[in-house]
Amino acid sequence: MSSHFGPNPWIQQHWDWRASGNFVFGGAGSGLLLAAALALPLGPARGVSMALGLLLVALGLFSVLMKIGKPLRALHVFYNPRTSWMAREAWVAPPLFATAVYAFLRPSTQAEILFGAAALAYAWCQARILHAAKGIPAWREPRLIPFIVATALTEGASVAALVALAYGTPSRLVYGLVAAALLARAGAWFSYSVKIAPVLAGRARDALQAVTPVLLWFGTFGALALIAAASALPRAYAWPLVAAAAAAAVGTGWRAKHVLVTRAALNQGFSLPKVPVRGAR
């Protein structure tokens, strides 16, 4: 007999694809802004990346707006930055937009640092939102935090590389950032999934484990090989490879986040450490 008794946990039904949309689009958007600050030189590629990054962040926020029960009260989300990471994410969003627009209009090193820091803070808040949800074992695991941040940067950097190539400004720096982010994400996922898989059961564990081979083979090794090949080829031949690498990196990251939020999110269930003692002993 097990040391605990009670019904098995079930997959949470409160957050659906609209909630996961915030992590999918917001993560990619903040990662793209961060990658633009880190690896793209001044010019149209950076401008387009920043606009696309802000659009993705806005799309993520809109996705959440579609989900909440009282959208007309959405501004109440700013009320509790003292303890709530969701409120902190909301507080970071306006500075993220403001500093990105400022950096676009008046480029400077300080502006780069500011919007890069805001983008990193946004991705960090997203990771902490999940971590603070104590009722979901797969989310409260601390090893999820580096994965969420790493996949945001991976998705963003791979899109930034594609945009840079489109505008004829690919660089070793941006390719290097993509490669480093891909490896960091793979390491973070491996560390997280090894720790959390034994905690899960049934369909949730199957869903989580199904992410691993796709994320590693397509989203990491495949994308790395494509990026390596692209970096050695002329632009005309490189762009389909970088586009495929970006699709693999972004697609697998989005899938992983969607699975985490909607399909691997077993709740805590109910559990009794003791059963009542009744009748004669």
């Binding site: 007999m1 009670g6 409160h14 959440v64 009260r73 109440h76 603070a132 104590k134 109910f270």
Partner: protein
């Protein structure tokens, strides 16, 4: 300082769900929303099988994760330990629902009634503020407060005691001030072995389960 707590004697609960019905009647919760539920568990393996009935709901944690994550400050904790929701502040983001390890929170998207159209009692008690926002057990705080104001003692006088406790046919549910060593719940905790659910998560629930005498 008062600390309201509930004690469920698992040896006494017979799973009659009267507490669930009393809660629904008192708080006019819509279909599929049960602030006070009773789980029917079967534990063990043949021939050593037991049925255990476990009343659950908001545990009014001393360190409530739902309060910490709430982006709007809608969820708060009163000085007496009761965790509350301000329906006018809540945006219905469900963050509290995924943060709660006790599955105690509900949100309905539209008014629903047991028979389609509202019956007289549902129409009378309908509260539009509770649509689209998070709801949960309140420990019947309004009843407790009104009882206290009238000089009644919560947990002893029915007028000041949560509906589920009043209705319990087996006296399995008890309510009182856990900070008062002379209270009914303190006495029960002193005389019996108890546990709190998911204690390892550090939420410090104010809901105790008795399972054996000392």
């Amino acid at each position: 300082m008062t600390r309201w707590a509930m004690v469920a004697d698992l040896r006494r609960c017979v799973g009659c769900q009267t507490c669930t019905a009393a809660c629904k009647h008192t708080n006019a919760t819509p279909p599929e929303v049960q602030w006070r539920r009773v789980l029917d568990m079967e534990v063990g393996e043949y021939p050593e099988v037991k049925r255990v009935f476990v009343p659950v709901g908001c545990q009014h944690c001393a360190d409530p994760p739902c309060m910490h994550v709430c982006p709007t400050t809608a969820t708060r904790k009163r000085d007496d330990g009761v965790v509350t929701i301000d329906y006018d502040l809540c945006i219905g983001c469900d963050y509290c629902a995924v943060a709660c390890p006790y599955q105690a929170r509900y949100r309905v998207k539209a008014p629903t009634y047991a028979y389609g159209a509202p019956i007289a009692s549902e129409a009378k008690q309908h509260d539009s503020r509770r649509v689209g926002v998070s709801t949960k057990c309140t420990f019947c705080a309004d009843r407790v407060d009104a009882g206290l104001a009238a000089g009644r003692k919560p947990g002893v006088d029915p007028e000041a005691t949560p509906a589920c406790v009043n209705s319990c046919i087996a006296q399995a549910l008890h309510f009182g001030d856990a900070a008062d060593p002379a209270s009914n719940v303190s006495q029960l905790l002193a005389e019996n072995q108890f546990f709190r659910m998911h204690e390892e998560l550090g939420t410090e629930p104010n809901f105790y389960y008795l399972w054996d005498r000392k």
